[in-house]
Amino acid sequence: MIETERRDKLLRAMLDELALAGYEEASVERAQAAAGVSEAEFGVEFADKDACLFAAYDHLTDQVVARASLHCGHDKPWPERIRDGLEALLEELASEPRLAWALTRSFPGIRPAAYQRYVELLGRFIPFMREGREYSEVDEELPGEVELLAVGAAEAIIFGEVDAGRAERLPQMLPEILFSVLVPFMGPDRAADEMRSAAASI
């Protein structure tokens, strides 16, 4: 059994390998060396490279969701909580561009089973969106998929920046991303007000 600190280092090193070398060339041996984990210890914990990569991805996504949700408490109106959660998420991705690449680009592209994990990651943000329905300017029920439409809008912008090697720019894009998340729930005028407010606070 590898203790938590070295296990975390190993998982992190595997994602670094994936981001830097790609799936085929990602080396378990280099990750083990970086984390100070022996082959025997690795064998006890993981069946193979894939098992370690999937565990690393699950660990990373747990962290990303936890940090974003930490800032989505219940002491503020929903649009502000979404802004705070997004801000935390963007700062985390900007501070770790390699992990952002592994999160959005290298891991989901391994094969369909890995892509399924990415779909599940996006789905984990849906519960944070539901309250947005209460902010609609119309009485009618909003479309059933409006939460995923909002999450996917943010993902498209984030993915575009990470893909272009500009992850460090993400915090500056908070107003634009916030608008795209809020607009299906609040309409363009009120979403634009929130966007201007976020721009003023940067």
């Binding site: 799936y23 085929e24 959005t104 680009r105 989901p108 592209g109 391994i110 094969r111 369909p112 890995a114 892509y115 399924q116 990415y118 779909v119 996006l122 789905g123 609609s136 300017e137 119309v138 009618e140 909003l142 479309p143 059933g144 998929e145 409006v146 995923l148 439409l149 909002a150 999450v151 996917g152 809008a153 943010a154 993902e155 498209a156 912008i157 993915f159 575009g160 893909d163 634009e176 991303i177 608008f179 795209s180 607009v183 299906p184 609040m186 309409g187 363009p188 005028d189």
Partner: protein, 197 residues
């Protein structure tokens, strides 16, 4: 190629597996394609040209921009539902799993669709990147359905997609009205299909 990628991903797809699935000889493959990537790009070109053809055929000669967008979105959803492996290759594999050239092909297609969506507002309320983000929202729903093997459900979500495409430009009230109209068109067409059966 598309079916193999949908099953195993581009990285783990081999030319041999494609040949076996298609019942094609290596000589025949070599006479058409320079290699695996070239074949995947050929499949991508096919889904792009099929999509554009479907849009052109679906486009009504009357109505405003929003009307035309409804028919175009409907045509795309129906195409994806009927060709899920090509949809996987076009929307998922080329974006996150394929080669840089496949990725470029995906980006070109996405830019064309985003430009179409921007025109839905007739110039009202246009903001840089808004259409791309709205398209991203719709794509997230498409990808979830494809990953779950529920592609047949996509045409039933027409109203959701119409709403996503229009709301940044025309506001919630008008986007919802157009979404409901789109759903009515779908239901009417479904009923006509049932009557024919």
């Amino acid at each position: 190629m598309a079916a193999c990628c949908a099953e195993s991903g581009y990285g783990e797809t081999t030319v041999d597996a494609v040949l076996e699935r298609a019942g094609v000889t290596p000589e025949s493959f070599d006479s058409h394609f320079a290699g695996k990537e070239d074949c995947a790009l050929g499949a991508l070109n096919k889904i792009v040209s099929d999509t554009l053809a479907q849009i052109a055929m679906a486009n009504p000669l009357v109505g405003d921009v929003a009307d035309r967008r409804k028919f175009e979105i409907k045509a795309i959803l129906e195409l994806m539902a009927s060709q899920p492996a090509f949809a996987w290759l076009g929307y998922i594999e080329s974006r996150q799993g394929g080669t840089p050239r496949m990725h470029d092909a995906y980006e070109s297609g996405a830019r064309v669709l985003a430009l179409m969506m921007e025109r839905a507002g007739d110039g009202v309320g246009e903001r840089s990147g808004v259409a791309r983000a709205a398209l991203g929202g719709a794509e997230a729903v498409v990808r979830r359905e494809l990953a779950a093997g529920r592609e047949e459900r996509l045409p039933q979500l027409l109203g959701d997609f119409v709403y996503a495409a229009l709301v940044p430009f025309v506001g919630q009230r008008e986007a919802l009205r157009q979404a409901k109209l789109a759903e009515m068109v779908s239901v009417e067409e479904g009923n006509r299909g049932n009557d024919r059966d």
